[in-house]
Symmetry: C2
Subunit: 415 residues, 2 copies
């Protein structure tokens, strides 16, 4: 076929996560690959009642077109919720309802990035953000990151040599893929630097409320005095992901651009879905859902860490996250996690090789493990299989009792 | 603020339609501006029952992430429906569920268009398509169009001098904004030309089933032997727009690109919305809805045409569409419809000035009138007000009984 596609299509590749998600549909697979919330936390019955009410009382409105910015009561809830839980000072007019926060990432690319523009991100960073932004042809500049978050001196040096940097993209809480959380000092240092350089920040914040222990830390948005931080929020982890509801909260001059892009992209997020969730929120809060989810995920994280501590051979290091859905493991450098995955799939266990989370490649000895979607005994069994394959690859037959952790991971666990 | 935006943002402007939609929310306004279906046709009660069933029987699945391509039973329904109603030969695997067909337009730009690429369209064409494609920086080439559709000789000449043309975008049935429908001969001639030039076609088909009289004509997709036609469909006019469900149907090599773009753009269309509609479709068909809508719109179109025939001064010409939601009017050349709108808004009547539908500007003496969303007596009153303002602008005080129609509009009325 002689049909010509846009140049960007040579960069737009199948997402490993999405392809792997297909694996998880076979019930015999123990999958640590996806990022699925536990369905036990979804309030299906309550939502059915809320839906019946919306359709009986305002069916004509719920099934009609509405405004691009979003359903006003839902925008009000988002602003109130953020201000109460996250100490921000957002007004409803500063909120745009999106079709999941993934859409906020796509819009970020459209609003900010021309071909070749530098975009800064943590190293590693969220694969879905890499996919969304890559369509706009930027140059990814990975900023070195440790267990306390993005390293300020590294960021400062990069911004000094990249004056055309359009954007810094970060996930400060229970990061995808590493599970790491930035310390307060790092958040403050980061805001000082971006303020001096006047560079916009996209703070992707899906997991902030999914904290198992320790004290919540202020989001960058709450430390933002100059309107530089664009906050991406989502109902996926505090309510459910299957309705695809997220939001962008930003200063008016920035939000306006996102609204314009939304008009061209899909006119508006579904009216009915917004009204369903707004009706549910009238009688319920997300807090009970979040508590239920945290209890489940905490137990599953513990099960995974216990199994890793028990099963993993020496030379394997992993994070001990205090929240979120993921942990991150580093294998001995001579191993390639893609090879490991191939062998694992034959034993019906799956994960995401970590190399995918580095926009400029490398780090093939890393992996992301999801702990939110499998019951504890399946997690133990999955890690057992995984460690077995790994030991075979390492040419060993017995587990080694000595386990190394990341330097500083004790600080993480206390977060 | 020194924040830098992508160059494309200088092209992305507020949509006149969306801004005007805000007007329609004041109940005293008689609005011919939007493109709203009549809410009397929305099956709210039936949908409430279908939703209750989905959430009771498969709540965990409905509220969870799912695949990018869409919910399989809904893809199957779309393929079957197209094949039965539109004589296509589409398989479920050739269908991608989108967040409304507007999203299909955005993806079209992303898949096909680099900065400066020629994209061909009817003159005039759908404003939402102009907005969606404009974000990718193409050069719009307007192909002359008459009451029978795009003019083959003009298309042939343009393709000969634009060998880099990436795409032809068309709306062959009850076009937005003109209400015109392409004749069978024009469809066949068009397909012959694009086949010879091997240029992909995006056939935007929201209104094809909203036909008030005459015999349905085959969509381009049904005449497509080479897999060149990308069909955009929507539930907005055959079910309701507030759930934002549409689809792309295309040959595998093309659909694959749309699926990749969808992954980066928003991962997937909402699982619950897809399952709600699929459940509704198990017990109902869209046919009854469409029949109810057609009966209402036919009466409203008749009311609008009667009022126009009665009230409009000489020198005003308008189409007599056999379906869809819109008709198109041309004022005497010395008048500017934007001035007319300003004066009309003071009398609480609104429409969309036609100049917005020409990507390269001009044609300021035209207007689009929507007839689907107002009861007949309001339509009569609105046209009376509109004609009153128009006569004032024309410096007249009495209506003129002589009405001119477009040449060939009798053919249209018989479609």
């Amino acid at each position: 076929m002689a049909i010509g596609f846009a140049q960007r299509m040579s960069e737009v590749k199948a997402s490993e996560i999405r392809e792997l998600l297909k694996l998880t549909q076979k019930p015999e697979v123990i999958s640590f690959a996806g990022g699925l919330p536990a369905p036990e936390t979804f309030p299906a019955e309550q939502l059915a009642r809320a839906t019946a009410r919306v359709l009986a009382e305002a069916g004509a409105q719920a099934l009609q077109y509405s405004t691009t910015e979003g359903y006003p009561p839902l925008r009000e809830w988002v602003a109130r919720h953020m201000n109460e839980k996250l100490a921000t000072a957002v007004s409803p007019e500063q909120v745009l309802i999106t079709s999941g926060s993934q859409q906020g990432l796509d819009f970020t690319g459209k609003v900010f990035l021309d071909e070749g523009d530098p975009v800064l991100c943590e190293s590693p960073t969220y694969l879905g953000a890499i996919n969304a932004l890559r369509a706009y042809g930027p140059r990814f500049v990975e900023v070195p990151t440790d267990d306390d978050g993005m390293i300020p001196e590294a960021l400062e040096a990069i911004l000094a040599r990249e004056p055309r940097a359009r954007l810094v993209y970060v996930i400060p809480d229970f990061q995808n893929p590493t599970g790491r959380t930035w310390s307060l000092a790092r958040r403050q240092a980061f805001m000082g630097i971006v303020r001096r350089h006047r560079v916009p920040v996209v703070e992707d914040c899906p997991y902030v409320e999914v904290r198992f222990e320790g004290v919540p830390l202020p989001p960058l948005k709450s430390l933002d005095e100059d309107g530089l931080v664009i906050f991406l929020g989502t109902f996926s982890k505090i309510f459910c992901p299957g309705m695809r509801l997220g939001w962008v909260a930003a200063a008016p001059a920035l939000l306006e651009k996102y609204v314009l892009v939304k008009q061209g992209a899909d006119l508006q997020t579904a009216t009915l879905a917004q009204m369903q969730v707004a009706a549910w929120l009238e009688d319920h809060d997300t807090e009970a859902n979040v508590e239920r989810a945290c209890a489940i995920y905490r137990a599953r994280r513990d099960a995974m860490l216990r199994a890793l501590d028990r099963e993993m051979p020496a030379g394997v290091r992993y994070t001990r996250p205090s929240g979120g859905l993921f942990l991150w493991a580093e294998l001995p450098e001579r191993l390639n996690a893609r090879d490991l995955l191939e062998a694992c799939v034959e034993r019906n266990v799956a994960f995401v090789p970590g190399g995918s989370f580095f926009p400029n490649g490398g780090h093939e000895n890393t992996m992301r493990l999801n702990f939110s979607n499998m019951p504890e005994e399946r997690i133990a069994e999955g890690v057992r299989r995984l460690a077995g394959v790994l030991r075979e690859l390492l040419g060993r037959s017995e587990p080694d009792s000595k386990v190394q952790e990341f330097e500083g991971s004790k600080a993480l666990a206390g977060n």
